[in-house]
Each structure stands twice: as structure tokens, then as C-alpha cells.
């Protein structure tokens, strides 16, 4: 036997998951630090200090959280093998729930209410996809058609005649508690205003997270961490992922496939609902028709961007939130500074590729790097008309250059029927 196994076993045993993760972590850390230094340098060189000002970073966080929550929801659902396009609709329901319960029973009830409505949306999706075995995308699209209509329809009966509210918007909701640690925030802010290299950037980051840090933001971060722990470190998570990878194998080992799929979808709905509630309470001061406006799809994109893993997904959401925030903060000059960052980053990556022996791709990457460099040099700001595209173009560029080998759950989107094990 030993002979045989030595034959069939691959000559080089592949790295184990552990090592794999640690290596990946180290890589990301390095990239992160590099990016940070780069940004800091760009800031100093260009004087576009808003590029990582405390305000910009705070804005980024607030913009990224709802996207990340939607993306996180996507991970729960698709890791269990159910594609969830319906996130958009569940965000809408969540926002409405926050508006209704928040206005009538207070902010805590609001957040819970948002989760509840998200859950209801997810329940429909679960019923259709898991029980009836309907095509996942059809069900998701249907939910995305239904939810905004339902929300607008209910908003009319919920909020007409409310003080400060109206048929299309809830009254202003109370803010969820937020943490401000002035002893740190104040000095940090001052330090940030000194515009020193690296130091001020760090200070800005510190200031960003120590002032007006909503507990919901913290909760969202906790949920991201919790998700990667639950899904990858617990028996429950193993079962849920196995259902998304090989349902019939799972069933043959006594795992209740339907149950775990339903759980995955429902949790994703709760998270999306939370995202909607966050929109209605932290990002703005109440529910309003049309306020979600595609964020669910962006969350979906973030999930794919993150290769169905929480960490990278968060990075995707942050990238989008950051560029969107810079644009809204009238960042014609910050985005111009960002050109420099991109140029250098691309050139560096080109060198890396070259050393890897990928001549042609190195050439292409370098070429683009050059283009951005020139663009940076010959202009002194990005025309305001174009800043709006920044978030979308940036996402495409990142994906195009660091083209991933995507690894969706193997049975993602497949319809499973009980008793088809074996």
C-alpha cells in the first residue's frame, strides 16, 4: 500500500491551510503597509491632505460598512451554496424596518427591526431556492423588484402624517450611540493637521476611529471577524461550508442540507437588513425611498472581489467606500494625488512581475503605470466631471491587474434535492 500511496500522492505535498493563511496574511500586511507609506508620500508631495484626512477616513468607514454587511451576507448565503442577488432588496427592507421600528420604538428596536425585515426577505429567498428549488438568480431578482415597491408602498402608510416625516421618508431617527475618546482624538487631530510624513497619517487614522465611532460600526466589524471565525473554525461553519461545496457528501454524513442552506440564507438576510438599518441610522438620519440605490449589488461585487472570504471582501468594500468618499468630498485634488499612488503601485507591481519572469504582463502593467504617471504629471487635478467614476473604475482596475483565480463554493447556485446523496 505504502508504495501505491507514494505513487498516487503528489510528489510535492501542497502547503497546509494554516501555513497558507499565514502566508496570505503576511502578504496582505506587507501590501497594506506599502500602500500606507505610498499614500503618505503622495500626500506630502502633492499637498492633497484630504487624501487620508480623518474626515475622509471616517467617511470611508461609514460608506464601506453597509457594503461590507451586504457582502458579508453574500458570503453566508453563497458559502451555503445559495446565490443571493436579493441582497439589494434586503438592504431596502432593512432600511425601511429601521425607519418604522426606529421611529415607533426607538433606535435599538430600529436596528433589530431592520434585521427582522431583512430576515423576512431572506425567508422568501430561502423558501423559493431551498424548498422549491427555484433558480437562485430568478428568486433574487424577483426580490429586488418587490422590495423597493413594497418599501415605498409601506412607507406611504407608515410615515405620511408623521412629524418631520412624509410618504416617502421616515421622520429623523435618533442616532445610535457613538464613542468619542477626546483624550486621544484631540491630540491626534492636532498631530494630523501638522501634515508630517507618516506620523500625521497615522494620527489621522487614530483620530478617525476615536471620534464619533458609532457602535454599529464596531458591531459590523465584530460581525466580519465573527463570521470568519464561525465559518472557518467551528463545526457549525464546517457543516455550512460543506453544504455549499458538496451537498450530497454532506447529506451522506447525516448533515441536514436544507437546514444549513436555510440558515445561511437567513443569516445573510439579517446582515443585509443590518446594512440597511445602518444606512438609515448612521449614514443618514432616517429611511428614504431610493436611498439604497444599488449598494446591494456593490456588496455582491465586494464579495466576489473578496473571493468569498470576509477579509478580502472588507478590503473591496473599503476600496469602494474610500474612492466614493473622496469623490463626494469634492476630491478633485485627492484623486489627482491618487493617480501618483496608482502609478507607483503599478510600476512596483510591474517590477515584481518582471522578477517573476512574466515579461509581457510586466510590460503591460508598467505601461499603464507610465500612463498614470504622465497623467499625474501633466494635470494638476482630475476634472470634477470624472471623479464620479472613480469608485467603479478603481474596482475594475484592481480586479483587472491583480486578476484572481476566483474560487466560488463548488455547489454555489446549484439546486439540491433531498435524497440525492450517493
Amino acid at each position: 500500500m505504502s508504495v501505491v500511496s507514494s505513487v498516487t500522492g503528489p510528489s510535492v505535498p501542497p502547503p497546509t491551510e494554516e501555513v497558507d493563511n499565514r502566508k496570505r496574511l503576511a502578504q496582505y500586511l506587507l501590501i497594506g503597509i506599502g500602500a500606507f507609506l505610498l499614500v503618505s508620500a503622495a500626500r506630502v508631495i502633492t499637498g492633497a491632505h484630504d487624501i487620508d484626512s480623518a474626515g475622509a477616513l471616517r467617511g470611508t468607514i461609514v460608506a464601506a460598512v453597509p457594503i461590507a454587511l451586504a457582502g458579508l451576507g453574500g458570503i453566508w448565503s453563497e458559502r451555503a451554496g445559495v446565490v443571493n442577488i436579493g441582497l439589494e432588496g434586503m438592504l431596502v427592507l432593512g432600511a425601511l424596518g429601521a425607519g418604522y421600528f426606529g421611529y415607533n420604538y426607538g433606535i435599538v428596536a430600529g436596528v433589530l427591526g431592520g434585521m427582522l425585515l431583512g430576515l423576512l426577505g431572506a425567508a422568501v429567498h430561502a423558501l423559493a431556492t431551498v424548498v422549491f428549488g427555484v433558480d437562485h438568480i430568478v428568486s433574487g431578482v424577483a426580490i429586488n423588484i418587490m422590495a423597493p415597491g413594497l418599501a415605498a408602498y409601506l412607507a406611504k402608510s407608515f410615515f405620511s402624517d408623521t412629524p418631520g416625516g412624509g410618504p416617502t421618508q421616515s421622520p429623523p431617527l435618533g442616532k445610535p450611540p457613538a464613542l468619542t475618546i477626546d483624550v486621544i482624538a484631540e491630540p491626534a487631530a492636532e498631530l494630523a493637521d501638522k501634515h508630517w510624513f507618516v506620523v500625521s497619517d497615522l494620527a489621522a487614522a487614530v483620530a478617525a476611529v476615536t471620534r464619533e465611532m458609532s457602535v454599529l460600526t464596531l458591531l459590523a466589524l465584530v460581525l466580519v471577524v465573527a463570521t470568519s471565525w464561525v465559518l472557518w473554525r467551528t463545526a457549525f461553519g464546517l457543516r455550512l461550508r460543506s453544504v455549499g461545496e458538496a451537498p450530497s457528501a454532506a447529506e451522506s454524513l447525516g448533515v441536514n442540507v436544507y437546514l444549513y442552506k436555510v440558515i445561511g440564507v437567513v443569516v445573510s438576510g439579517v446582515l443585509a437588513g443590518f446594512g440597511g438599518a445602518y444606512l438609515a441610522t448612521v449614514s443618514s438620519s432616517g429611511y428614504q425611498n431610493g436611498m439604497v440605490n444599488g449598494l446591494g449589488y456593490i456588496g455582491l461585487a465586494a464579495m466576489i472581489f473578496g473571493n468569498w472570504r470576509p477579509g478580502l471582501m472588507l478590503a473591496g468594500a473599503a476600496l469602494f467606500g474610500y474612492t466614493r468618499t473622496l469623490q463626494l468630498r469634492g476630491g478633485t485634488d485627492s484623486l489627482h494625488a491618487l493617480l501618483l499612488v496608482i502609478a507607483v503601485a503599478l510600476l512596483a507591481y510591474a517590477v515584481y512581475q518582471f522578477l517573476q519572469g512574466k515579461r509581457t504582463s510586466a510590460l503591460i502593467t508598467g505601461g499603464f503605470g507610465g500612463v498614470f504617471g504622465v497623467w499625474f504629471l501633466v494635470t494638476d487635478s482630475v476634472p470634477a466631471e470624472f471623479t464620479g467614476m472613480a469608485p467603479y473604475v478603481a474596482t475594475l482596475f484592481v480586479l483587472a491587474f491583480f486578476s484572481q483565480s476566483l474560487r466560488p463554493p463548488k455547489a454555489d447556485g446549484q439546486i439540491y434535492r433531498k435524497g440525492s446523496a450517493g
Partner: protein
């Protein structure tokens, strides 16, 4: 063998039962919602069930045919297992380019129309091609890229309308198409202000082409094969990468046509009141129509009908029209669920039939 005819009869019956069942479910649920919010259920149903006036019939056809184009554009992707969310962006790029070309009127009269329509198809096709290219060369999921490209398309078009557009009072739009390049409507009823868009006839043509290419040609077979089983397609010599790009581009080319009937039939320019969202509606229509040219036609008509009635709901029945979106969603779900149930039942019939044969052969 004996029970085969009855089987067939039952199948035929099932085919009709499914949609009927679905509509009943949808109706029930919508009514429930109306009751729960104390709205006028009676009014809702009278509005929805009274025969539309002739001019409404024309409107329903007009929008339905436009939706049909959108549905086909989405369906092409689906048949290839590509989730092209980008029809919306491709549609707007196409409409804008056509509006500009036609507005510039480089060619006289009808030639101008042809040129503009071709320009729309090319522009939208190329725009969609970006997503295909990113997918095959860089492994970027078409879901992401088309979502991003939609937003970029909207912003680009918006920007260029500001740049090249002419001011009409408080908003801008592209130069108006010269009158000799308009496409006259088709009069369906006398004494009715609205007419069928001339270019709406593109829809049936596209539908036929879609059907023929997909089901009668080698290319179509390869496309369906790639969609049904990429591995099998590759093994049997289909260049799947090429198929991905080509089908993305075709999807875009059709998307480019979506705006044409309105552009040449009534709007005559691309401005801020030009309709958005048709691309997304098309996805639902395609799915509801199960990517089948006939099914999509029905789906498009259902959606168009509801859209038209929605406009009247709050005038005639004082009901907030958003309810219709809910009804549309419910219909989509109800239909697919009903079909799924029937499909399983049919599968069993077939399997039973297979086994029965096997038994006979063995016996």
C-alpha cells in the same frame, strides 16, 4: 406504452396550469397586501381587469416590444451561463450614440437612421465586449464588471450630454434628429393619439433571429453547449473563451437596439427624461420567460401591461402605484415556482417512461 398518450395529454394540461396557478397566487398575495394596508382592493382589480383603451393597448405594445428587446439581450447571456447585468449600461450607451449620430445627420433621411442604429449596435456591443474581455483575459467575474460598467456608462453619457448637448430650457439633450430621419408610427386604431413605434418591429425580427441562431445554427449549438456544460463543450472542440466574448458582444448589440424605437419614434433626442431601468427590467423579463423567445414575449407583455395600469391606479383607484412593482415581483416568483413544480412532475413522467421502456426491453 399504453399510457403514453395520457401522459402527453397531461403534459399539455400542465403547460397551461402552471401560469394560471401562478397568476392566481400572485393575485391572492397582492390583494392580501392591499387589504392589510386598507387600500381599495376592488378598485385595484377593476383597474387591472377592465380592457385597456385602444391607446393604452398601443402603449402596452410599445413598451412591451422595447422590453422584449431588453429581455432577449439578457437572455443571450443567460443561455451561455453569463449573468450580464450590464444591459442597462449598454442600452444607454447605444441610445446616446445613436442620438448623437442621428442628430448630426451626416447622412440624409433614412440612411441616417440606418447609420445611427448601426452605431448604437456597435457602441453597445463594444461596451459589453469589455466585460467579456475582462472575463476571459483577466478572470474578472462578469457580474462585477457589468455592475461597474453600468455606473460608468451612466456617468459617461451624462457627462457627454452636458458637453455636446444643446440646452432645452432647464435641461440638456442631444441635438434633435432632423424630421426626415424620424421613423413614423404604425396606426393600429383610428382616432387614437398613440401609434406603434415603427422601429418596435425590430423586436419580432430580433426574436426570430435569436430563435434561429440559437436553435438552428452551429454557433447557437456551441453557445448552448457552453452554457449547458462548459467542460463538455471544451472537450468537443468549442472555443469557450471566444464564445464568452462573442455572446457578450451579441448581448450588447441587442441591448443597443433597446432605445431605438423611442428615440426615432417619439423622443428624437437623448435627454434627461429618457427612460432608464429598462435593462434591469429586461433581466426579470428574460428570467420570467425562461430565456425562450415566446416566453420572453409573454413576460414582456405582462410587465408592460402592469406598468401601464400602474399609471392609472392612483388616478382611478387612489392606490399608490408602487404596489405594481410588488405584483410584478410576486408574479415572477409565483411563475417560476409553479413551473418548477410542474417541471419536477414532468421529469418523473419521463423517468417513469424510460424505466418502463427499460423493463419492456428486459422482459
Amino acid at each position: 406504452m399504453a399510457q403514453r398518450p395520457t401522459n402527453l395529454a397531461r403534459r399539455a394540461g400542465l403547460g397551461l396550469i402552471a401560469p394560471a396557478l401562478a397568476l392566481v397566487i400572485a393575485a391572492a398575495l397582492s390583494s392580501l397586501l392591499l387589504v392589510s394596508t386598507g387600500d381599495d382592493v376592488g378598485g385595484f382589480w377593476t383597474t387591472l381587469t377592465t380592457k385597456p383603451e385602444n391607446r393604452n393597448i398601443v402603449n402596452i405594445l410599445n413598451y412591451g416590444l422595447v422590453l422584449y428587446l431588453s429581455g432577449i439581450a439578457a437572455a443571450i447571456g443567460f443561455r451561455m451561463n453569463l449573468f450580464n447585468i450590464g444591459v442597462e449600461g449598454q442600452y444607454r450607451i447605444g441610445a446616446f450614440v445613436a442620438a448623437v449620430v442621428a442628430g448630426e445627420a451626416w447622412l440624409p433621411g433614412k440612411a441616417n437612421i440606418v447609420l445611427a442604429v448601426l452605431a448604437a449596435m456597435v457602441a453597445a456591443g463594444l461596451w459589453a465586449g469589455i466585460a467579456g474581455l475582462l472575463r476571459v483575459t483577466r478572470g474578472v467575474s462578469e457580474v462585477i464588471s457589468t455592475i461597474m460598467l453600468n455606473a460608468i456608462a451612466g456617468l459617461l453619457v451624462g457627462y457627454f450630454v452636458q458637453k455636446v448637448g444643446v440646452s432645452t430650457g432647464v435641461s440638456r439633450s442631444t441635438k434633435a434628429i432632423p424630421e426626415e430621419s424620424w421613423v413614423g408610427g404604425i396606426k393600429l386604431f383610428d382616432g387614437v393619439p398613440t401609434q406603434l413605434f415603427g422601429l418596435a418591429l425590430l423586436a419580432p425580427v430580433v426574436g426570430v433571429v435569436y430563435y434561429v441562431v440559437l436553435n438552428k445554427t452551429r454557433f447557437g449549438f456551441n453557445l448552448r453547449a457552453s452554457g449547458a456544460s462548459e467542460t463538455a463543450a471544451v472537450a468537443s472542440g468549442v472555443d469557450v473563451k471566444r464564445m464568452i466574448i462573442v455572446s457578450m458582444v451579441f448581448s450588447g448589440v441587442i441591448a443597443g437596439l433597446i432605445g431605438m424605437p423611442t428615440l426615432f419614434g417619439s423622443a428624437h433626442n437623448y435627454g434627461s427624461s429618457f427612460q432608464t431601468g429598462i435593462g434591469f427590467a429586461g433581466i426579470a423579463v428574460a428570467l420570467l420567460g425562461r430565456n425562450h423567445p415566446i416566453g420572453i414575449a409573454f413576460a414582456a407583455l405582462v410587465f408592460s401591461f402592469l406598468q401601464d395600469r400602474a399609471g392609472l391606479l392612483n388616478i382611478l383607484a387612489g392606490i399608490s402605484p408602487e404596489i405594481v412593482a410588488v405584483t410584478q415581483g410576486i408574479i415572477v416568483l409565483a411563475v417560476v415556482i409553479a413551473y418548477e413544480i410542474v417541471r419536477r412532475y414532468r421529469a418523473n413522467l419521463e423517468r417513469a417512461h424510460v424505466a418502463q421502456q427499460v423493463e419492456e426491453v428486459r422482459a
